[in-house]
């Protein structure tokens, strides 16, 4: 039984507008409902947090960075599937502890189908 994408809402956070748009396109092509946010604060203040099923976030952003965002989101939504994206491959070696969770981490540029597989996999494994 495969997950039915159109029932899932994916939130994307990235300070780079063109990356935000490209991810929106990629996720739409797989029939997900997408909400895009230009910063971590925009997501946290939007009130959308209870509705989303998966979060894709950039790591290096001004203000609240991706790691901090994961901690804040997990405080409100423990176990919410998270995928992180970074432009700095060194990040892979310096992944801080995120309260026992292990988000998938992708390096830019990534393969579109691999990211989509990761999304559907985390949604399948998500509690509830």
């Amino acid at each position: 039984m495969t997950a039915r994408p159109q029932f899932f809402v994916v939130a994307v956070v990235d300070d780079d507008q063109s990356i935000l748009q490209s991810l929106e396109y990629l996720l739409e092509s797989a029939d997900y409902a997408v909400r895009t946010f230009a910063s971590a604060t925009a997501l946290l203040e939007s009130g959308d947090l209870p509705q989303i099923d998966c979060l894709i976030s950039d790591v290096d952003m001004p203000g609240i960075d991706g790691f901090e965002l994961v901690r804040l989101v997990h405080a409100a939504r423990p176990g919410l599937p998270v995928i992180l994206v970074t432009g700095y491959p060194d990040r892979l070696q310096r992944l801080p502890s995120l309260g026992g969770t292990h988000p998938r981490l992708f390096t830019k540029p990534f393969q579109g189908h691999e990211l989509l597989e990761a999304v559907s996999e985390t949604l399948r494994n998500a509690p509830g």
């Binding site: 540029p109 579109g112 189908h113």
Partner: protein, 534 residues
């Protein structure tokens, strides 16, 4: 002109016992010895008539001070050993520990200080302990000088802590044994004291002669090996020990005479001499180390501005639009691959890819414009100053790789015009490349930075090294972005250097150096007339 010491490995330049004494230190040492001889003359000659009373508190204060200085000296030397692993340092540290321990027994046995006849031992005990103290320490000094000689086994290969603990245990055992003999066999040993104050006629044979001979042996051994600060000051200490011999017996062969008091003062001087030198040197070295650390930080900050850092930030800037283009293209394919292709969405995807492509193009253009536009911030400046700055920024690397720098200022040159910060980056980049090219070779490492007049209105700067040189295959690709022969480089340094120089309407090129290495040269526009020759 900046020269670096090619003889001593860098990591040992900061270690005290390997440091060569400076001229000022040698003069000071000689001054102390001459002053000592003069004091000896005064006390045995003009001042010999002065009578001083017995002050028992004096000996207590004296022994306490001696114990503290010798113990602290021993601790500092043990600390030096744990860094250096030199057997010689371990030996001399043990020597200081030995004197500290013997002083404890000495004060317990000295009549009239803690008890009328001494707390332990009998009449001869304290005198024999004095002999042990003043003969065994010079023996430690001889052992120190001899163990320096044997360079093959000079360094301790095991762990420092057990070595220190063993040496403390053995030294304590030796001091305990000496104390035991002086206390238990007091009656069997030759008599050195007639009563608690007067020395016996035996004194010159059992005290004076042995002390004088081991001290002379120690001075000779140190003289033959004299190399370090520690050698020099131990020699002075041995001279102080030696002077104690005549002072003790002349003008009056008894305790609490002028000479005897003078011996205590000299003894304290000799005990604190090495400690003072150690503390002074440690403070000086600390200041030098601090300077070196700050220098390294400055150099790192400067390098952050240069090639590789610029390249890394460009790489990150380019990564963003590329990621967006790839991801949007992936999405476009997925819209087309559907059973019912969504053409509108696919078209929209292509439109965005084009937009991101243009964005990347703009980025590349702005990077080029960056080099161009900064040229508008041209100033007129002195080229020699720029060269000296770049050399001092790279000073730490140059010193680390023991590179001899030749950079004679050329006073005949006019000021040049350009973006000073960028040109400093170019120069530093060329210097660092030269260092990298020479670091791998054993041959003489010479970096020569020169400036000269070039054509009518230009100045040429050349950076010549004696490194590996540039093969003819590499020569063609040398200025290409991403070309590198370094394992840790991105290959952007030289291409950025060339871009900067060309943005100054000048040229950057290289020629082979003779007999080996490479010469990189770039020209700059003069901004004024040359100073008048003379």
């Amino acid at each position: 002109m900046l020269k670096t010491d090619a003889a001593v490995p860098v990591e040992q330049q900061f270690v005290l016992s390997n440091l060569a004494p400076g001229r000022a230190q040698k003069r000071l040492a000689l001054g102390i010895v001459i002053g000592l001889l003069f004091a000896l003359y005064l006390i045995t000659g003009p001042l010999s008539g002065i009578q001083l009373g017995a002050v028992n508190g004096f000996i207590a204060v004296y022994a306490t001070a001696m114990f503290v200085t010798d113990a602290v000296t021993a601790i500092l030397l043990y600390a030096q050993f744990s860094i250096l692993r030199s057997r010689a340092i371990l030996v001399i540290a043990s020597g200081y520990l030995f004197t500290a321990l013997i002083i404890v027994v000495y004060i317990l046995a000295f009549p009239g200080v803690l008890a009328p006849n001494g707390l332990i031992g009998d009449l001869q005990t304290s005198a024999w302990l004095y002999v042990v103290w003043h003969t065994v320490f010079p023996m430690f000094v001889v052992a120190y000088a001899l163990s320096k000689e044997d360079s093959s086994k000079r360094l301790w290969s095991g762990k420092a802590r057990p070595a220190i603990l063993w040496s403390i245990a053995l030294t304590a055992a030796l001091a305990a044994a000496a104390g035991y003999v002086a206390i238990v066999w007091e009656a069997e040993l030759p008599r050195l004291m007639l009563d608690p104050r007067r020395f016996s006629p035996n004194w010159p044979y059992f005290v004076g002669a042995p002390i004088a001979s081991v001290c002379i042996a120690a001075i000779v051994a140190l003289w033959l090996r004299r190399r370090s600060v520690l050698d020099l000051w131990l020699m002075v200490v041995m001279c102080l020990y030696l002077v104690e011999v005549p002072l003790s017996y002349y003008p009056a062969p008894m305790r609490f005479s002028t000479g005897w008091y003078a011996v205590r003062v000299v003894g304290f001087l000799s005990s604190s001499l090495v400690l003072t030198v150690l503390l002074y040197e440690i403070t000086t070295l600390y200041a030098r180390l601090l300077g070196a650390v700050l220098g390294q930080r400055r150099e790192r900050d400067a390098r952050l501005l240069t090639g590789d850092a610029v390249a890394a930030s460009i790489a990150h800037e380019m990564r963003q639009p590329l990621t967006a283009m790839i991801t949007t293209a992936d999405a476009g394919f997925r819209f087309l691959d559907r059973a019912a292709p969504n053409l509108d969405k696919a078209k929209e995807a292509f439109r965005r890819i084009t937009a991101d492509g243009h964005r990347a193009g703009t980025l590349v253009g702005s990077i080029r414009a960056n080099f161009k536009s900064d040229v508008t911030e041209r100033t007129s400046f002195d080229l020699d100053e720029l060269i000296q700055e770049a050399l001092s920024l790279g000073g730490n690397e140059l010193q680390k790789h023991r590179i001899l720098v030749q950079a004679e200022p050329n006073r005949q040159l006019p000021p040049v015009s350009g973006n000073r910060v960028q040109l400093q980056q170019v120069l530093l980049n060329l210097i660092m490349n030269a260092v990298d090219a020479m670091a791998a070779r054993d041959d003489p490492r010479i970096l020569s930075v020169k400036s000269a007049l070039y054509e009518d209105d230009r100045v040429v700067v050349s950076v010549a090294d004696t490194g590996t040189g540039i093969g003819s295959l590499d020569a063609e690709r040398l200025f290409n972005p991403l070309f590198t022969t370094k394992s840790n480089g991105m290959g952007m340094g030289l291409s950025i250097c060339r871009a900067i120089v060309e943005a100054h309407d000048s040229r950057l090129w290289f020629t082979p150096n003779t007999p080996q290495g490479a010469v990189f040269q770039f020209t700059l526009l003069a901004s004024g007339p040359a100073p008048a020759a003379g």
